[in-house]
């Protein structure tokens, strides 16, 4: 035993973490079988230690499992811990433990009973679940509350694995009964389980009736803090019948505001705020009294750990928007402390801005000024911006705010100046023509500005107040020198500002405006900039007066609406206080987990993906290749090759992937049957290829093999080439999901082949030749053709020219014949009026999957080319049909 590093470590668990040498598994196995209980316990501990550091100790499964037959609870617990971890990967072996579980579930010791039920619930193996129901049903009625409370949770576990079993066994009803259990912990877990089931199933299993309501309210006083959270959260979802009921419930809930657990407090706040909405205005006294009661607990939350403060502040942010009166007197508690974490400071600032008023603005400004001298850049910037927002919010304090901003600009700290300029622009927009006196100070700091937003803001100010700045044109001129390097936002502002400047003072700025317009319209490739440049240019050249009205017109006054939520969203979020949506300020829908979302068929999403490996990702329609090889009928010899058109086969799979075979494949139609032609070139496979099994993935054409077995007759020996085929049928279940609107379908059909002789499985994809799918009975009546042709929107027409046709291929008669062989049916033919030597021919075709395509081919005498126009309702396949026609023409 090399693990005892030194005497100091004796007795501490860290020795289990020391590196283990070779053969440790064997050593562990010996120890697991030891007769000495302590050695055994130690061995299991070591196994679990390895498990926790990510080592695979699953090979010890049976050995560990053997240790479960013990009266020692510690050992049992450790073994159970191990079982839960590996049950998923070793379901067969876990079954061996079932007997132990069932036995333990009726042990005399309640701890063991509970442990057994609990562990069984954690093992998500179907066959274990079957055995779970009986012990679970007993455990739910166990005389010992510890077992009952464990069993309550277990129902939720079972619901996750097999909801139908839960319904069948009536476990939901038993859970409802547990709400009125004599033991508070049982009540809590019962409520938790019900809420969870309600959440995941979307069903109202937690339905609160009058009697349930009373039970819940009674349990609220009794149960554990966590249970109280669950109860309060379900109360928040309940809608009281009237104001009186609401008031009654609120009365029962209010004492929870004094709980030491912040989660209880916040959930109680949620119930009260949600019900307050329902109480209406006739209860204004009650509401006022409640408002007073809510403030102190909310303030108290700010004495908690920073993480809790953060969540509390995000919620308070909502609360002050909904009911500003609650905390209007408490602004001081939101003042930032130096060692608050930055995320708390940022949230506090938001709330300060929401609570700022004429009464406290002086104090707030002192604070914000203080924050602006701190070291954290983001925080400082937010503080500076907050000063600006105060100015925008409170008209009477605007001047004081500007005073503070000017002081801050004097510090010359780069980012403080830049942020100040940005907010001063907003102040100017809010109070036009009131504070221009400070422009001079701003102009002194032009050199400091290097951020696009700050620059753009400054340029806006210069343009807007050009007539009051003596050297406005010079200032703009300096910016123009670097016009091309500037950020687009700055460029746009420069353009507008220069035009403003020109309109106010045309004499001196003629050249400048010309230069800017040139830069914007000719040098720039930013469409926004060019558009704006052209508009200004046209305005200035056609009607300067109109330009003045447009460019120098009054701008809408801004308000401080930053970070203000839409009232309807706010109402929703108030009902969601103490949840993730209230932290993110997003509606609750964004947090709903779609059950089984993880099972989306990846394969379908990337039809265009050439990576054949994806095949393994597998769709539902896919059958495990190993389950194949049923009664395949090797009908018809493979060599039935006629004189008909030979499909060009594509090389689809190299020998490196398929165990030494080179595969070429293509689709064709013979005797009204669609076939996949396969040519096998045995390059290096030692065994003869005699029999193959085939499987298709879902594809755009619903193709599916008629038989999974393909026989190569004669077998393809090494160095030779053989040909075989597989008949295909249309199977609607094999249909791949349609592509995104407007996108053509993928022509690819993904195929898996198992070489039955060698056992190799390989994958490849073949592009489908669409003509192989044209049905032999696709002929159409002339009148039907005309009607369809008219009914299909011209916009879904597909055009193309097929040029460089082989000699004679443009002869209409031969085309007609060729097409007929391939199930493209002739409809009509007529000369084009007024165009000498041109003729149009109409064809129709229908695929075996009942898709119709109408084609109009235009030929010109003496020209080896043809214009193709194709119309279809199945636009996604249009392109394929067109390509099919083209390839038939070329043939």
């Amino acid at each position: 035993m090399a693990k005892f590093v030194g005497n100091n470590d004796k007795g501490s668990d860290s020795r289990f973490f020391t590196t283990q040498k070779k053969g440790e598994m064997h050593e562990l196995r010996m120890e697991l079988h030891s007769t000495d209980r302590n050695v055994k316990v130690d061995a299991v501990k070591k196994v679990i230690a390895s498990m926790t550091v990510g080592k695979d100790v699953s090979m010890l499964f049976t050995d560990v499992l053997n240790c479960v037959q013990t009266g020692n609870i510690e050992l049992k617990k450790l073994v159970y811990l191990y079982l839960i971890n590996y049950a998923k990967t070793q379901p067969e072996l876990t079954l061996l433990a079932v007997n132990t579980f069932v036995k333990d579930a009726s042990d005399a010791n309640p701890l063991i009973r509970a442990l057994a039920v609990r562990t069984m619930g954690c093992i998500r193996v179907d066959r274990i679940t079957e055995y779970l129901c009986e012990p679970l049903s007993r455990a739910l009625r166990d005389e010992d509350p510890y077992v009952r409370k464990t069993a309550a949770v277990c129902v939720a576990k079972l619901y996750d694995i097999a909801p139908e079993l839960v319904a069948e066994r009536g476990f939901l009803e038993i859970l409802h009964d547990l709400i009125s259990d004599s033991n508070p912990s049982v009540v809590a877990n019962g409520v938790a389980a019900l809420s969870e089931i309600a959440e995941t199933s979307g069903k109202d299993v937690m339905k609160i009736s009058a009697s349930v309501l009373q039970k819940l309210l009674a349990a609220l006083n009794e149960c554990t803090e966590w249970g109280q959270v669950f109860i309060l959260d379900s109360l928040a979802k309940y809608t009281p019948a009237d104001g009186r009921e609401a008031e009654g419930i609120i009365e029962r809930v209010t004492p929870r505001l004094q709980h030491a657990n912040s989660a209880v407090v916040m959930s109680a706040v949620k119930v009260i705020l949600s019900y307050m909405e329902l109480m209406g205005s006739q209860n204004s006294d009650v509401i006022r009294a409640l408002t007073r009661k809510l403030a102190p607990p909310l303030v108290t939350l700010l004495n908690s750990e920073p993480e809790i403060q953060y969540v509390a502040l995000r919620n308070i942010n909502l609360i002050v928007q909904k009911r500003p009166t609650i905390l209007e007197q408490e602004i001081k508690v939101f003042f930032c402390k130096y060692n608050d974490p930055i995320y708390v400071k940022m949230e506090k600032l938001e709330i300060i801005i929401k609570l700022v008023s004429e009464k406290n603005i002086d104090q707030v400004l002192l604070e914000l000024k203080e924050y602006a001298t701190e070291v954290d850049v983001d925080f400082v910037r937010k503080a500076v911006s907050a000063i600006g927002r105060c100015a925008v919010k409170l008209e009477r304090a605007a001047e004081r705010c500007i005073g503070v901003l000017l002081e801050l600009i004097q510090t010359k700290v780069n980012y403080v100046v830049q942020e100040s300029v940005i907010v001063i622009k907003d102040i100017f927009r809010r109070y036009p023509n009131r504070y221009e006196s400070i422009i001079a100070t701003l102009c002194d700091n032009l050199d400091t500005l290097d951020e696009p937003l700050a620059k753009a803001s400054m340029i806006w100010i210069i343009g807007e107040y050009a007539e009051r700045i003596d050297n406005a044109d010079e200032l703009l001129d300096t910016f123009l020198e670097t016009f091309e390097e500037e950020d687009p936002a700055v460029q746009l502002q420069l353009l507008s500002a220069t035009v403003k400047c020109f309109l106010k003072n045309p004499e001196d700025t003629q050249d400048m405006v010309q230069r800017v317009l040139d830069l914007a319209t000719e040098e720039s490739d930013n469409p926004d900039l060019r558009d704006r440049g052209f508009i200004y240019w046209r305005l200035l050249s056609t009607d300067p007066e109109a330009a003045k009205m447009v460019v120098l017109g009054d701008k809408p006054v801004i308000e401080d609406d930053t970070f203000k939520l839409d009232p309807s969203l706010l109402n929703v979020l108030i009902g969601q206080i103490a949840t993730l949506s209230s932290v993110y300020h997003k509606p609750p829908e964004s947090f709903v987990v779609r059950r089984g979302a993880g099972e989306t068929n990846e394969f379908d999403d990337d039809d265009d993906d050439d990576d054949d490996e994806d095949y393994e990702g597998g769709g539902e329609g896919e059958v495990d290749l190993l389950d194949m090889g049923g009664l395949g009928i090797a009908d018809g010899a493979g060599g039935a090759q006629s004189k008909e058109r030979q499909v060009p086969l594509q090389k689809v799979c190299g020998p490196e992937k398929s165990g030494g075979l080179e595969i070429s494949a293509g689709f064709t139609q013979r005797k009204r049957k669609i076939r996949l032609e396969i040519e096998i070139n045995n390059i290096s496979s030692a065994t003869e290829v005699a029999s193959l099994a085939i499987q298709l993935n879902k594809n755009s054409f619903s193709l599916s093999p008629a038989s999974q077995q393909i026989v190569c007759n004669p077998p393809v020996a090494k160095g030779s080439t053989g040909r075989t085929f597989c008949e295909l049928v249309i199977n609607a279940n094999m249909m791949a999901p349609p592509p995104a609107a407007g996108q053509p379908v993928s022509p690819q059909v993904q195929i898996a082949i198992k070489n039955m002789t060698s056992g190799t499985v390989f994958y490849f994809a073949v592009n489908c030749n669409f003509e192989a799918l044209f049905s032999a009975d696709g002929a159409m009546e002339r009148s039907a053709f005309i009607e369809s042709w008219k009914s299909i929107d011209d916009r879904s027409e597909l055009y193309g020219t097929v040029s460089d046709l082989p000699p004679g291929a443009a002869d209409i008669e031969s085309v007609q014949k060729k097409f007929l062989q391939n199930n493209v049916f002739f409809i009509a033919r007529r000369p084009v009026p007024g165009a000498e030597g041109q003729e149009v021919v109409y064809f129709s075709m229908r695929t075996v999957s009942e898709m119709e395509f109408l084609a109009e081919l235009t030929f010109k005498q003496g020209v080896n080319a043809c214009k193709v126009c194709l119309k279809t309702e199945n636009t996604a396949y249009g392109l394929l049909a067109k390509q099919a026609l083209e390839s038939l023409l070329r043939y």
Partner: protein, 469 residues
Amino acid sequence: MIQTLFLLSPTGEVLIERHFRGVVTPRSVCDTFWDRASQSVNHHGGLSTTTSILLQDDHYDSITPVMEISSTTGSLLYVISILRDGLSYLAVCPAEVSPLLILEFLHRIADTLVDYFGNPADESTIKENFSTVYQLLEEMMDYGWPLTTEGNALKAMIRPPTVMSKLLATSTSAVSDELPSGTVSNMPWRAAGVHYNQNEIYMDIIEAVDAIVDASGRLVSVDVSGSIQCQSHLSGIPDLLLTFKDPSLIDDCSFHPCVRYARYEHDHVVSFVPPDGNFELMRYRIKRDSVANFTPPIYCHVQWNVASTNEGNDPDDSSKGRIVLQMGLTPSSSLILSASRNKSQALIVEDVAITIPFPKSVRSIANSCSASVGSLIYDEAGKVVQWNLGKLDVTKKPQLTGQFTLNTTSDTATTSMTMAPNLSMSWKIPLASVSGLSVSGLSVQGEKYRPYKGVRNITKSGMFQVRVG
């Protein structure tokens, strides 16, 4: 609820990993979390408390305790985290959840670990006791829900390691075979059948002053919050009644679940059956107007000067700075002496320490300061100096003087105003109450014995900050 719980070491290594819902959260979630956390440590380039080894309760600062991380399977996971004793506790939740519940629960786990293994419960502690930690987690959580979280009930099921059990190494089991009675009683917090030969209960009323003092010594804000920490060794099921002299001082309070709130609301008395051992009976906040006249017990005068030395002649632009700090007792502090009624006796101020976070542009702080009393600790990386004075002795006129050199590059064109740091000060005054809240009586009912009762007041600094400049 919680899908997976991770415990990360201070270097981001996964120490503990528990999956509760049959879904295995990939460890890549931890990697993403750790990347963001370690990025945020220094990403502002400014001083953040995280970088300082001197400031306790460090945090990642700018990463929020609730964050979204998309897992490798593409689904969104919500990671709710806390940082305690250098360890990151991560709860991974797949769906909507009450974040406060999770945070409280994570803190409860951390508290339990401290309770079991002593303070601090850090990396080495976890590694030494990993199987107990696993057993605890197993007992505290089921299917990602809080299961048994009361210390008493837990201890009845899993014995905490003691010196004795360590000596005996592994020969004894850490798990009791008996079902603890606490888990089944209607008072989950109290174990049944407790017996002591010596019945005693101690209460510490600890008040913490959160305050911001500006450069002129004026209070910007002050907030007093208190907690009552108890140590109870009482036999049987004692029913206690605690009464205050002036309960109207209390603005808002929150109680341990054992307290009968209705009784408090009605009579302003605290009636409860205590848990066994250490617990926090209640927390409260003092009404702000009751402490409006508070004056800090000690003052701290700071002189902070920065002057550019070489008028731009030297390309290596720098300025010299000087700090002088003087401490003393405020003669007319409003702190009420509760132990000795003799007001003339000077207050004893203990554990005095001042933390000076220097600006990042200071070149070196090592040995830049000297103090007439106490010791100095330097944290060069965080540019923080901590001055520990211990018990404040005014006769020695404590003073700290320091000189330092600042880099002043053009883009941090700084003035002395923006440079001045905010100091944080800590202190403790035993036997004093800042609010004047005191206990008028503590009676035991339901049991025949007469226990020894000890109640004392302590006032200490909370977040006590002194602004300079």
